[in-house]
Symmetry: C3
């Protein structure tokens, strides 16, 4: 499961290579770091004849695959047409002595700047290399592939390798090498794109930043709110020490709020988009930027919601494991005996909890289905209708179940004065706001008159009466508003 | 994780394109809907020169990528050899005025009928287009790709695009375009297949229908059965109000029955197939259709079983959270005090529950492994032996663990008269039937005489003594009967 | 989700096939087993003209796709250039009569030896076939693909098919056929590799053997240890029968030990590797073999840890479901009443449990993130920095959370004499050893002097003052030591 199916001899003969199977193409590598070594291993495995140029070939020879020839830099660059430069940017200039020998050859820049370097230099490594060797064709490639992936091979055969260069012929040659090595080349255009290509491996979950901050903000807000209501108020008003509730109880009343609000924020932008289209009477106007970004981050928001929901379930299930729970139970029993009450039963409370728990389990089950179909390998195996059914229909069912779960939790508490501690309404009432608006709006959109108008708009109809010729199923917009 | 690695300039130069890198191939698009726009974006990004034909080019120009030229339809179709028709079927006829200009060109039909349209017309959109433009080479393609996927790029490089056409040369050209755009083209033959190709995006989990209905039916049956035994009987016989048990308790006695029966139905067809082969004395006879279908839906049945099993676990874990549980405990304690019994302990009951719980957890753990290896990305990384080990061996272990879990739950209850409420046997006894048959049959198949015969049959031996020459490991049949 | 998108007509015209689209290439198949049939189905679907050679063509014809011609062996091998041999090794020799007709043709050996055969013959099936037909070009291919996959098509288009042969031209032809059938060919070199290729489908989780044995060993050790402390000691010392604790309680004190120790063993080799590099003052020396293996099996060890952790959570949550728990609670209440103690509360115990539970849930949540990002389809969508952030940073946070979870569980118990049953220290103290060393070492490595030196070493610096020219980010080694 973990070991690559094929570790050696990976050759994918194609195009240029195959034309002359008898003559093995030669490739040079300058550098002897880990990446250089992995590169050599893979190139040898892909049927290339590899020459490595090093300043200290004797010492380095042992670290390279035996099929690769390790020699002095001057010798290494002699015959190959393509030379990989697997060195630090700061050492590029040391190659200037080889300028004459390198003239007319293809130099492949595989380097990755660190974050600091990337911000510091206004010129990408590849462009810098090109400026040093104006007679060479510089191609940027392989920087997104780790030495580890190079060595073990692309297990699933579709690792993308972005490539850019100002010389089309050189780019073509490297494209074919990438393919021969089992990766999927992606042409990124001219060498000016090298800046962008070099930034790729430096990304750290760019799409998650805002949703994660949002979730964190919601958590802090609701935690503070619950702390005031559940811990501070009893302490101030009645002098009761409930601080032991901080690690489990307060967290457990906070998590469902975060999960529930996040889930509703997945469906809100779709409602807003539909409302906007209805008001504008056309879909041929771009949404405002904030709405567009929101629409594009729904997956992340939804997954964060799904991260909080099972945590809430786990915390809830931990409640009977607490000592405080045990003590409370025993004390209740003792109190019952002492007050001579032989039978304890509150039918309404019993029903409330049974329904509340059942709805919670069902909502979590539904959310799990949504989360599973968000896995890339599953999402890819669904057609658009199936994906939209799961994400939009089942997702809305999950939202409704969560709302019912919240409502049964609240029961009549929203109307009891004793629940308004420090005049703060119960937490659950706060979280119900957005979801109820969404459910109402969805109901409205189902009214025949509105539903028909919306469908027409999405098929290209416009208020001004001009019917545009568009594709029957407007995938993109339908996708964008599929959660309405 | 969500953002495509590469969003712009995706060019995968190949074959025809690469031959003349200096001359960018021209492509026309008729239509200005979302799909047309996404198509333009991707074509521009893949290195094509795009001309869009619109009735209102000025207004539409802003919505298309700046590199695409948006002009009048008449102008747009002039020079490109390939023209994408991204319009509604009902507007195809408006193009008839362009007939002369389109003559001899390749028209790519990318349209998707809605379900109603698909049922209504006996001619596919592509065939209809071909009938309108007999001098053009019509190719059906890209309809399975959503505008969203087009725009964001095939993240994993292996989205399949089925293609069909009656003109091999036109098909070849579009095939290469598909490849250049980063998708995997799949030749579906002549244009007559367009009907099938257009039906693809309309599919809604076809393989799940029967298994889901089966699970639903089992749920309803067992829920009703448990309702009668656990709620109705106490009410009718003793006047006890146990209706509060409906949302959690009854659901929780129903879910394991469904999960357990579904799991056994995963392994039953394998046993039947083996029995059939033993009786026939050959594997060279097709199984009856119902058995074949059953064998092919085992994955879905298994996953539905796995959906119910953790729900059962969750419901069970919720039991101590119920108010009714708390009241029962306190009332029991009070009763103990009042009846002056100081120590409560029933060693047999203690052991029953401990073993029952432990087996349940283990069975669930085993099922989780099965579910995880059903994920496409994991299943693909296993060789056939590993996959069969997990699905067949571990799956059978899970079935045995579930059976033991059920047996310890039942303990001696099957033999107590008081358990036969309304003369209905306890639910667990009903569910044990099929699994026990399977476990027995599997035991029988392990007997040397039967096992040897079965192995021989699967290697191609036949009762009539004629040995056929077949492949050592008969994958397909082994697969079909791997759960035996 | 399960049905392949495209089941028929899969043709991926490419290279040689496309050159003469009018003339369909002919392929022969010898054999009529399941694999032969699936092969025929897929070849027909990929646009080949298939002739099947059988000893009993009349009877077999019904089992093959109608487009395939089933005839006598002698006739079948006449015209096709490529002939698949889909037969058992023991029947290869029966083909010798066809020797003359087969001369100069390409024979594709698709056979899979059973494990016994593979060990028994020192010559691979393909080499044996080549020795029987010295005038043919024997190519080994398709053996890793099951008949099932052949028939249903490569759903995700990247199933790898290793190929080897001594004749480059024959290999090239088969490579192109593999591609045309929708698989990814992988050149494994000469026919001598057939031995290795034939061993591939026989692998059974080779990378999991050692980690699984390790986990099993740890489980047995800790189970025995806990049995002695929790069950045997009370029985021997006080005559108390606690054997009912075996199925749940003892398992539940054992599982977290296994999970925790395994998790620490994921991070230990990284620390050792860093320490080794610091001591050696260079990274240009290979790690000892045991360390290298350890580093490569961290993923499996981590996943086994993650398998035990939720099992531990499940067992813990099952605790209040036990009868023994109910009896204990009731008895405690009765005792309270009888001893006239009206209020039971131990603030320290309450806090201990609340913190302990909360940390446990958080640690499990963190581990889930790690497990999810280990899924191939997710891991592939992360760049190296993201992957390392999750696996190294979040993983270390999970280790710290687990350590705090363990410490709060222990609280002051490590220092209470009564806890040293049979002079054995409490179990949790044993498990804390390795993790604490790791956390300390990680803290040390953060000291500026050490951190700077380590960074320099990983950028290629050496103690002897010689600076090597290497790639800025040393992926491979960073990967290997990313858990430091």
């Amino acid at each position: 499961m973990d070991k690559p199916l094929i570790s050696h001899h990976l050759v994918d003969s194609d195009g240029s290579l195959a034309e002359a199977p008898s003559e093995v193409p030669k490739v040079g590598i300058l550098g002897s770091g880990d990446f250089a070594r992995s590169l050599a291993t893979r190139l040898v495995g892909s049927g290339f004849s590899v020459v490595v140029g090093s300043r200290n070939p004797k010492r380095m020879a042992g670290l390279f695959p035996s099929a690769a020839r390790v020699t002095l830099q001057e010798e290494a660059v002699g015959s190959p047409e393509v030379i990989f430069v697997a060195m630090f940017r700061e050492h590029y200039s040391t190659l200037c002595g080889l300028s004459d020998q390198l003239a007319g050859k293809i130099l492949v820049d595989v380097s990755n700047p660190t974050e600091r370097e990337h911000l510091q230099h206004h010129q990408s490594n590849a462009e810098y290399l090109a400026s040093l060797f104006p007679t060479c064709a510089v191609v940027k490639a392989f920087n997104v592939i780790s030495a580890w992936t190079l060595q073990s091979g692309p297990r699933d055969g579709n690792r993308q390798v972005p490539i850019c260069s100002d010389q089309p012929e050189a780019k073509r040659t490297v494209l074919e090498m990438v393919r021969a090595m089992g990766f999927t080349p992606v042409d990124m255009g001219s060498l000016a794109s090298a800046q962008e290509v070099e930034a790729m491996p430096l990304r750290l979950f760019p799409g998650w930043k805002v949703p994660a901050l949002l979730a964190l903000g919601l958590f802090i807000f609701f935690y503070a709110y619950n702390f005031v209501r559940d811990v501070l108020e009893p302490y101030v008003q009645e002098g009761k020490n409930k601080f032991y509730k901080l690690p489990v109880f307060v967290v457990n009343t906070t998590l469902p709020c975060v999960a529930y609000v996040l889930l509703s924020l997945v469906y809100l932008p779709g409602v807003l988009a539909a409302a906007l289209q209805l008001r504008r009477g056309t879909k041929y106007q771009r949404f405002p930027d904030w709405l567009d970004h929101w629409l594009q981050h729904r997956k992340q928001i939804g997954l964060l919601s799904f991260f909080c929901a099972p945590l809430h379930a786990l915390y809830s299930l931990c409640l009977p494991l607490r000592r405080s729970h045990r003590y409370d139970l025993v004390n209740l029993a003792v109190k019952q005996v002492l007050t001579n009450k032989s039978h304890l039963w509150n039918e309404e409370e019993v029903w409330r909890m049974e329904i509340y728990l059942s709805l919670g389990v069902l909502a979590l089950g539904m959310l799990s289905l949504l989360a599973v179909t968000s896995l890339p390998s599953i999402a890819n195996s669904l057609n658009w209708r199936e994906f939209s059914f799961v994400q939009s229909t089942l997702g809305f069912v999950a939202l409704v179940l969560s709302t019912l779960h919240t409502l049964t939790y609240g029961w009549t508490r929203a109307f009891e004065e004793s629940r308004y501690k420090f005049f703060l309404p119960p937490t659950f009432t706060l979280t119900l706001l957005v979801p109820c608006v969404i459910i109402l709006a969805k109901g409205l959109f189902l009214l025949p008159c509105i539903s028909r108008r919306l469908t027409k708009i999405r098929r290209g109809w416009e208020k001004d009466g001009f019917v545009r010729f568009t594709l029957p199923v407007d995938h993109a917009l339908a996708q964008k508003t599929s959660h309405v």
